[in-house]
Symmetry: C2
């Protein structure tokens, strides 16, 4: 067997995402050491118990000092502190990435602290959980998932290459977009569905919600996600999300007109087009997982 | 063991819902005979093969002539024909119900044909599948699901009682609403989520939809349902659905304002309230299934 590309991986944050990274790394190559960095000893101990990490530290500088790759798996509001703490401790060839759901603000912040052509390359694996905590971490969370990697014109090819290799090692399907392209795309494909899931619940009175079936439960699943995390995602991607909302409003008014007019043909065509596109998406994803 | 309450059950339509009724009836009491009524021999044969029904006929009058209960599990547009065909063939004590997603139009139609105080009591089990065909039928589809039963002021207590007993036998949690109350409630808790799931897909361009993750797949699951069936549901519940859409539009504009203003506190509260209500709903449903 070849030498592993990464000998030591440092994960900052050992919740459901950081924990899943640890489990996935160890499943990919058990010779890799995973160091968990966090601010609470008890959280890190839970990650050790879940066998998601091998070693722990509360000290970011110490934790990254041997790492080939560092992954930020914490709320965006905590990035600055950790980036500042790791700046002078990172090994020369280490790369730094993250799992944050918005990228323009994050990449700018990391470039300011670690250098425009520094070791940071933003990532956003399109996989997650509405649950919190390492107990919900899964070794296969990224397997078959899309991971968007967001280099800029200043990103060194060698850094990009290593971050792409990392996600591929975990089974992800890597897509490259600029940070701004990323933010626009996820406003539509991730943030808008999240907002509409919460909105669907807000539209129910207490009598109606009691009648909810499995369709309702699935349609609103993402709305059980962490409100403070999603507050941050929305606030760091406002402009793109407002465009997506305006698009949704246009579609809603279009559908309203069809329904008010009793245009059965138009309604069926609208629903059929949605079905066709979703079914094609699923067929493709299933194929990818084969 | 007591005599079964129902000795013979006739199911009109043996797709995923009719098939699941057959499987569930036989799982509840194997002494019950299930007769499948349909218009295609091949469909009925698939249901026999799936062991969802014991016997088949293409003749509605013949199929219902021995039945203690008849369940319409077909598109609403096909109700009239079958109700007319069964009218003079129904045994004296038989009850008739259905699984249709709207009730005011259906109950009125059935009352017109079978009599205002006749044997029809509308039902709507809040369980289903976006898949079609008896191959996706499940014996436990109704177990723990809510089933809305919709008597009117003319419904005989004995008929209502037997329809309620039927759904309870399949494990459903029965709720009684008037046909109009039902239609209003499901416009919010079922039809609006369906419409918004299709809308979410319509908002994506071809580049964005490729990035879809599991959240997107779940949020839009119901949009893979049958477009012609949903066309019918929407057209038979237009007024209530338009109210639900107007409510959704108000909520969308409220959220838009919060996001445009960068009101983090307001956004988090909105999301937190949705999460709390969904989590409570799930806790309750899980408890019910215990």
């Amino acid at each position: 067997m070849d030498e592993p590309i990464f000998k030591t991986v440092a994960v900052i944050g050992t919740g459901v995402l950081g924990g899943s990274i640890g489990l996935a790394v160890k499943a990919a190559d058990e010779r890799i050491t995973v160091i968990g960095i966090g601010r609470r000893k008890s959280t890190l101990e839970r990650a050790i118990k879940a066998e998601a990490i091998d070693d722990t530290t509360l000290d970011t500088a110490k934790g990254v000092s041997q790492a080939d790759i560092v992954i930020l798996a914490i709320p965006i509001s905590a990035y600055e502190k950790h980036l500042l703490n790791m700046r002078d401790a990172l090994p020369r060839n280490a790369v730094v990435t993250d799992v944050g759901s918005t990228k323009a603000i994050v990449v700018k912040l990391a470039q300011n602290i670690l250098g425009k052509d520094g070791p940071f390359v933003g990532s956003h694996p399109m996989a997650g959980s509405e649950r919190r905590g390492v107990e919900f971490a899964r070794a296969d969370l990224f397997n078959g998932a899309t991971c968007i990697v967001t280099p800029t014109q200043h990103t060194k090819a060698s850094c990009l290459k290593r971050v792409v290799k990392f996600w591929k090692m975990l089974g992800a399907n890597v897509v490259r977009l600029s940070p701004l392209e990323h933010d626009k795309a996820v406003a539509y494909v991730s943030h808008l569905p999240h907002i509409l899931a919460a909105l669907i619940i807000a539209c129910q009175n207490n009598k109606h919600i009691k009648l909810a079936g499995k369709g309702f439960i699935d349609t609103t699943r993402v709305a059980s996600g962490s409100p403070d995390m999603w507050r941050e995602i929305i606030l760091t991607n406002r402009k793109a999300i407002l465009s997506a909302i305006d698009q949704a409003d246009e579609q809603l008014m279009y559908l309203r007109d069809l329904i008010e007019a009793g245009d059965g043909e138009g309604i069926e065509q609208y629903l059929a087009r949605a079905k066709t596109r979703r079914d094609a998406l699923i067929a493709k994803q299933l194929k990818h997982l084969d």
